[in-house]
Symmetry: C2
Subunit: 387 residues, 2 copies
């Protein structure tokens, strides 16, 4: 199959690209290297020593004989370049990771807010427009976010995308309807993912584009079977206060002997998935595509739900060290306690065998946080205090 | 009050600007003249001979002594210019008409699709961002569209923005919730209005911005009390197949002795409002603003609902002539029959006394379509056939 990975140089895109290349698919990466450039802007580096995109790709070819062409295209800004690439490459599937993906970055300043909106919305729309214009049946798989549902405490289980409701008719009868789950987002980043859903609904209905939207949780873990093959293939590990997720922060704090900083009470519940499972889920989504004429398919791409304080305690049990409860320095997400009941049956029913935190965490702490701790800039671990 | 009208040179913006200037408010117009430039692109002209923005504004000053400053700013592209204008002018209210507003134009080509998305979404976001950055309590009134609700036949009444639903809890109990009415849009244009709602929800919740979103129906009529004062103040009348709305097409067809072309069965139902009532509704929305901390306020800005075939027949009763039923040439809106029960109590309860079609139509046919029929380009009345 011909598979294009948009954002294929990024944290999720890179291991996914290798995963499909390994399986014998014809893979192409489109990326404008924006994630590396944001590192320059934030004056941080991934803890792991990632190599340049061409070094990575040459190493992959040397090790496996497989070639992955790379196209530096800004999808949000260079529509015609992207469209001519699509016409030439003729993909069967486009996997869309090409959005600014950090909630804290999306609320850092007026500039990062406007960049996130402009980039994410125009990128998604340009992709849909190019597929429609191509006249080909190109299947789109998009990385959404579990955060589109909102983190409010709810007495009901969050479904996979669609919600069955009852509304009153003229005559006072209750009518059943299926609607897209009403979004309630906590950051500009999550808002753009909710807005993406409206793009998908329209282009699916109007142009018959087959689409799967994956509402992914916090991704943890660094390496996959493929990125472990050679250090030149290593994946990113972000530990800084803007791009680093909570689990990475805990691991690096533990490695350098600092207290693990839990924001607020730690009673917040979040959904998680291992990076290896991200690649597997994309593969399952490709192998289980909707048929022509079917509505947008939505899956929750999560495997476990944890309380933040439990995560911190699990790590201190493995490594020693202590937990420190601090005021929430982030303005984009509230630190209030919540329950989070989220349906996750779809991928399990397709055969996903998840990597659970309990089994993957120890190697992650030793092989990544421990091994590369000398590369850590301690001043970057906590987020900047927003005004 | 200091009121900024974004898109103040356009069909709704111009009469609204004069309406507030007449009432003694300090009005400023921000517009990039995009609507006039699209006329150039489509090779059409408004039926009425509108004058240039400075001729209009000078005439207004000559007639009333009132000055309305004009700022040529592209809000979607020139954020910093717009932000410095906001800081200098210090408006109490911003009225936002600055979006590409024709559904047919928004689906004409890949270029107009992408323009509509890029312009409308970045414009709305830049405005919200500028208000948030200003640190001032600037009230935003936005022109939405009744089309965000979708035109599907429904057994229930479409509410003003929010819908009460019942959903099942874990224990199988029915829980009441209030949600934003689930949008289901028929064009790229309407889709952007639904996406705007998510911007408003976020900035209202996160930054406390006070916002009213007005879901307006098809606007008919050309002149208001103010634009009638002098021919140099005359408002636009679009009759072409892309920007002209159904009623204008019928009037010009009637004036030049052509059959009135009804698309499909004519059983489609649409919501209408007179241009004079648009200005009055904006005024009511300003006088009835939500309080700090209140959610986004949504009103349906419509006064009547009509079937298309009834409109055509009403006109032929006044003017003679005949009705011709043709296949729908538009790809953006389906021509299927629908019922359309829409709540419209909010503005009526605030005191709106609507101008009904029955009273305003005859003068519109004589004073506009009849008077300026010599300016009509007959080749432009039907929409281009989309491929």
């Amino acid at each position: 199959m011909k598979i294009v990975i948009l954002g294929g140089d990024g944290f999720c895109g890179w291991p996914t690209s290798l995963h499909f290349s390994k399986k014998g698919h014809e893979v192409a990466i489109v990326d404008n290297l924006s994630r590396r450039k944001i590192d320059v802007e934030l004056e941080v580096e991934t803890l792991t020593p990632i190599t340049s995109i061409h070094t990575r790709l040459n190493a992959w070819k040397e090790l496996t004989g497989k070639e992955i062409p790379f196209f530096n295209i800004d999808i949000a800004k260079e529509y015609y370049l992207f469209f001519s690439f699509v016409k030439d490459f003729q993909p069967d599937v486009i996997v869309h990771f090409a959005e600014q993906r950090a909630a804290p970055y999306s609320t850092l300043s007026e500039r990062t807010k406007r960049y996130t909106v402009d980039n994410n919305l125009n990128a998604t729309h340009n992709i849909l427009c190019a597929i429609a214009e191509s006249g080909k049946d190109i299947y789109l798989v998009h990385l959404g976010s579990i955060g589109v549902y909102g983190y409010h405490t709810t007495e009901m289980q969050i479904p996979e995308g669609y919600l069955n409701i009852k509304v009153e008719s003229h005559s006072g009868e209750l009518i059943n309807q299926e609607i897209l789950y009403p979004p309630d987002t906590e950051s500009i980043y999550h808002m753009t993912k909710a807005q993406d859903q409206l793009f998908f609904h329209y282009y699916n209905k109007n142009n018959g584009i087959r689409i799967t939207d994956l509402h992914q949780g916090n991704v943890w873990g660094t390496q996959t079977q493929e990125t472990r093959l050679d250090e030149r293939l290593i994946n990113r590990f972000d530990y800084d206060g803007v791009y680093g997720t909570v689990l990475n922060r805990f691991m690096i704090q533990s490695a350098i002997g600092y207290p693990l900083t839990v924001y607020g009470s730690g009673e917040q519940t979040r959904a998680f998935i291992h990076i290896q499972d991200t690649a597997r889920c994309i593969e399952l989504a490709i192998n289980n595509s909707p048929k022509k004429g079917e509505k947008v398919q939505i899956f929750n791409q999560i495997t476990q739900v944890h309380r933040i304080k439990d995560l911190a305690e699990t790590i201190t049990i493995i490594t020693g060290g202590e937990v420190s409860y601090v005021d929430n320095p982030r303005k984009d997400i509230e630190d209030k306690e919540n329950e989070f009941f989220v349906a996750k049956e779809c991928f399990l029913s397709m055969g996903l065998k998840p990597i659970f935190l309990e089994e993957g965490l120890i190697s992650e702490i030793h092989d990544i946080a421990g091994k590369y701790q000398h590369r850590c800039d301690r001043s970057k671990i906590l987020p900047p205090r927003w005004t």
